[in-house]
Every structure is written in C-alpha cells, then in structure tokens.
C-alpha cells in the first residue's frame, strides 16, 4: 500500500515537472538581464537580477497594478453574470418542458459555432450605438444575458446527471420551479458551479480580443493588453519584463484556482445524496 502511494507520488511529480518545464523557463528568464535570456547555452542565470519585476510593474503607467485590479473587476463581474444567468437558462433546458425547447436549445448551440471575428464588427456597432464603448459593460453585461452557451450546456449536462427523484420530492412538497432550482438543484451542483466560476474568471482574465476592441483608455486596460505592450512589433521588446509580469499575472488566477479547487471536488459525495 505504501509503495503504491510512493509510486503514485513519483508519477505525479514526474508529470508535473514535464508540465512545468516551460513555466520554469519563463520564471528563470524573468530573473535575467535582457541580453542573456536568449543567448544559447545559458540555461541557468549566472546572476539573479530582480529588476525586471519593479521595472515591469512601473512600465506603461498607470502600471501593472492597475491592470490587475481592472482585470479582477471585469472577471468578477463576468463570474457573477455567468453564475446567475447560465444556471437559470440551464434549469429551463434541463428540467422544464415547454414548447419550442428543442429549437431554442439548438439555437443556443449554434451561437457558439460562429467564429468571433465574423461578428466582431456588427457587435462593435451595437455597443457603439448604445454608448458602451470604453466601458466594461460590453465585457460584463453579455454574461448577465447568458451569452456564454458553453456554460449553459455544461450546466445542463450536470443537472441532467442528477436524478429527478430529488426535485420531484420537492415538487410534491409544493415547491415551485424557482425553489426546486435554488434549494434542491443548485446545492447539489457545487462542482459544476465552481467549474463555471473558475473558468469564467480565468477566461475573462486572459481574454485579449474583447478588451482590445472595447477599451480605449489605458487606465481601464486589463492584464492581457498590458502584457502586449511589452512586445513591440516596431521596435524594442522588453522580454524580461514581459516574463516577469506574465509570471506575476498568473499569481491571482492561481490563487483563485487553489481556493476553488476544493469546491470543484466537493461533489455530491460530500454535500448531497448521503445526507
């Protein structure tokens, strides 16, 4: 038994190392002076230089701290929006019988099939017309309107793997749809909700296209826009600072992930059926 555990640890450590190699390379580069990063044959820094961090942090005023805060605001708004709207839509698709349901479900799936670049300009025109350009609204409000079909579909699949007996029992007790949704189904779905929250957070956090198109004022920029500014197609790029800030930008999402990952695995196993 013990041997098995050791073997499992060894296996996992090995996989982790393979997974982490590129990230470790990035971390190592963030502590090196620019001209050494790419010079062939220097894998480990001869001297550790930390200045990429303060320099990268201060570069592009208002600076990286502000971008982090902006990203956090956008991402949290998106999380709340997706959790609220996608769960509602998913419940309708998973648990209620109503006319044209199949048509709407198909329409929902169809909305994820069209490549973003084809709808970018018409969408921009809409947001310009309602005066939302250069605000966070185009990045957040659509989430409250459940435009992320990915998550609706995900939540439908999870709801459908929950036996119907559970909410039928509540129905007999006289609970309406909303109560069945909020009191019976949602508590059973912690892993799916956590998944939705984590993914929404991370995907909004790393989204480049939306902020690129809709944010004009640098004071509102998010992290990906800030990172691109270290890469200059027409002149000098600051790779050391880029790596330093990329590493730094992973920290908050990593923390969010660490916190939520417990919820992710807290399934029915601990919250539901048994109790």
């Amino acid at each position: 038994m013990n041997l098995k555990r050791v073997a499992l640890h060894a296996f996992l450590v090995l996989v982790c190392l393979g997974m982490l190699y590129p990230l470790l390379w990035m971390l190592r580069s963030s502590f090196m002076p620019e001209e050494q990063i790419f010079s062939p044959g220097t894998l480990l820094p001869t001297e550790i230089v930390a200045e990429n961090y303060p320099e990268g942090w201060r570069a592009n005023p208002p600076g990286f701290g502000r971008f982090l805060v902006n990203s956090a605001v956008v991402s949290m708004g998106a999380v709340i929006g997706n959790l609220a709207a996608c769960t509602l839509a998913a419940y309708a698709f998973a648990r209620i019988e109503f006319p044209l349901k199949r048509v709407w479900f198909a329409a929902m799936l169809a909305t994820v099939m069209i490549p973003v670049h084809a709808t970018l300009i018409p969408q921009y025109t809409i947001f310009t017309a309602i005066g939302w350009v250069d605000t966070y609204l185009p990045l957040v409000i659509p989430k409250f309107l459940a435009t992320d079909a990915f998550f609706i579909f995900l939540l439908v699949q999870f709801m459908r793997s929950i036996p119907r007996e559970l909410d039928e029992a509540a129905e007999i007790d006289g609970c309406g749809h909303f109560q069945r949704f909020s009191r019976v189904l949602l508590p059973l779905m912690t892993p799916a909700l956590a998944t939705t929250a984590v993914f929404t957070f991370i995907w909004s956090y790393e989204d480049f296209m939306g902020p690129l198109i809709y944010l004009a004022d640098i004071n509102r920029y998010t992290v990906p826009l800030g990172l691109r500014m270290f890469m200059n197609g027409m002149g000098e790029s600051s790779y050391g600072q880029l790596f330093a800030m990329t590493a730094l930008s992973l920290a908050p999402v990593f923390v969010v992930f660490m916190i939520f990952q417990r919820r992710l695995i807290e399934g029915i196993a601990t919250t539901g059926l048994k109790g």
């Binding site: 982490l20 990230l23 509602l88 793997s161 990906p224």
Partner: protein
C-alpha cells in the same frame, strides 16, 4: 445548413428531454384532475420562458443581430469601410471552387481537430481519474496540472514554445542525450503543426477539471453497490464510473471539438499571424482573420465563417445522434 443545426439540436435535447414513458404517464396521472392540459402546461411554459428570459434578451439583443449581419455580409463584397455590395453566392463558389488556401486551412484544421481533441480528452480523463483519489498533496498536484492552462494564449507562450521546440530547444537537447538529432520542430513544415497540437494537449486543464467535477458528481453509493457485487476496480470503472460520466464525456467531446475547429490563438501567436512555415499552421479561423482584417475582405471572410458553422453543425449533429446510444442521463431514470 440551418436545417442541420436545428435537427442536431432537436435530436439532442429531444433524446435527452423526452421522458421515458413510465415517468411521463406518472406525471400525467398526478395532474389528472386539472389535466385538460392548460394550467399546468401553461405554467410550465411560463416558467420555462421566464428562466430563459436573460438568455432571450442576450440572444435577441446582442447575439442574433451580429450573426444575421455576418450571414448577410457573406453574400456581399464588403471591405469594412465602404458599403457592402451584393454579390450573391460568388463568395461561396469561389471558396469552394477555387481557393487553395481554403483547402489548405481545412486540411490543417481537420488534422488538428482529429489529433488534438482525442489526445487532450484522454490526458484529461486519465489525470482526472488519478487526481480524483485521496492522497496528501493532491490539491497541489491538481493546481500544478492546471497551471499551463492558466497561461492560455498569453503572448509569452510563443516565446516559450520556440525555446522548447526550436533547433537548439529543450526538446532537442533532451533527445540529444540519447544521441537523437531532432528536427527544427517549430520551423519545419512537417512538424510545426505537431508543436501546436502538443500545446493544446499540454493545456488539458479545462476538460480535466470538468471530468473531475463530473467524477465527483457520481453518487458514491453506486460504486459501493458494485463493491458489494465484488467487482474489481477496473470493472467498476468501466461499468459504473464511465457510464455515469457519459453526459460529461459527451459535453467535453462536443465542446472541445467545437473549440478546436475554431482554434485561433495558438497558431496566431506561434506563427506570428502568418500560418507558416509554408502554410503548415494556417488554421481555418486564422485564414478567416487574415481575409477579414488584413486583406479587408469581410464579405469573403463571413462566407468562410458560415462554411465553418456548417461543418461544425454537421459534426455536432453526428455527435448528438450518436449520443442516444451511449450517453446515459440519471434524470431519465434508467
């Protein structure tokens, strides 16, 4: 192609949504008193549409308009800055009839989808199963496995990948230990697509998390029952875990396929937007992007977009049709 889409959707939730006869009749008997269908069904309809209200607002307010606009533009010549000119089907006929880059990009994209989706899902499932066990430090392992996915399409990835797969990159140095003289992976047209597939597999975190959540959603008494039956771990996995996980497997297969067909960022950042070397990483959406935003042929690009929608819809339809045979939903009370 809309017909296909609808059919796909119709079959899917249809198979899913319709109640097995037993249950349906049970429901009816319950409501027998006021059965003349109205109040009960009307309230269900009302509830259904109420729950979908935000989604409807989004669909009609934000999503449908741009989709219809792009559908219209696909029949026009539109250079972004001057008015669109109606050209009928000519964009479509040109794409399908005589566009070598279209064919190239379809080839690249299908190769990518066929290679990356199964590999990514296998990795994701295998590691989800391993990480689902209780072991000290599991939280840490899970987080580390997810780290590459956090990096997403960040600009740094391009540079990292060159360091890994370049001529003197880490991979070749490793191979050199065994006396193997590796190729210039990232810059050789025979291997460059492979490096992007490896990138996709490396970032298997998202489907893995969804599998993990799915595994956790399986009621433990199911496994316990099998334990009593004396089934071994592999048997239990194959005959209990996997079937109960099929809704989630199905989700991952469908969504990962859709996402893979639309893959843009990896090739965009790694080939610096060119799709090179020699078109070997010219993904479909990258080609569409080049047409739309560097050549200003938005009409043509929109037609490309709708051809892709048709392809994806067809593949999704097949998935939904097949799902009747292998996906099991707990709410259908097997």
């Amino acid at each position: 192609m809309n017909a296909t889409t609808h059919e796909a959707g119709a079959r899917g939730p249809g198979a899913a949504g319709s109640h097995p006869p037993g249950r349906a009749s049970a429901e009816r008997t319950r409501g027998a008193g006021r059965r003349r269908w109205s109040p009960r069904r009307r309230s269900a309809t009302f509830a259904g549409y109420l729950f979908l209200l935000p989604w409807f607002l989004g669909l009609f307010g934000l999503v449908l308009g741009p989709m219809l606009a792009s559908a219209y533009l696909s029949f026009t010549e539109y250079d972004l800055f001057t008015d669109a000119q109606w050209v009928g089907l000519s964009n479509y006929t040109e794409i399908i009839g005589s566009d070598p880059e279209f064919r190239q990009s379809v080839g690249v994209t299908f190769t990518y989808v066929l290679a990356s989706v199964p590999l990514r899902l296998l990795f994701a499932l295998a590691l989800a199963v391993v990480l689902n066990r209780t072991l000290r430090g599991m939280a840490f392992y899970r987080s580390v496995m997810y780290l590459p996915s956090l990096l997403g399409g960040s600009v740094g990835v391009a540079v990292l990948w060159r360091q890994l797969f370049g001529r003197d990159g880490a991979v070749n140095e490793f191979l050199g230990l065994f006396g193997i003289d590796g190729p210039n992976w990232i810059a050789d047209p025979d291997y460059s697509l492979m490096t992007i597939i490896v990138l996709a597999v490396w970032q298997f975190g998202s489907p893995m998390i969804i599998f993990l959540a799915g595994l956790r959603n399986i009621p433990p008494e199911m496994g316990e029952a099998a334990l009593v039956d004396g089934a071994g771990p592999l048997r239990r996995f194959l005959s209990i875990t996997i079937p109960l996980l099929t809704p989630i497997i199905f989700f991952n297969v469908v969504m990962q396929t859709i996402v893979a067909f639309q893959a843009f960022t990896p090739s965009f950042i790694i080939s610096n937007g060119t799709g090179g070397p020699v078109g070997s990483t010219l993904f479909y959406t990258l080609y569409l992007y080049q047409k739309a935003f560097t050549e200003f042929e938005m009409g043509y690009a929109s037609a490309l977009a709708w051809i892709l929608v048709a392809i994806i819809a067809a593949v999704t339809a097949v998935a939904f049709l097949s799902s009747r045979r292998w996906v099991f939903y707990a709410d259908e009370g097997r």
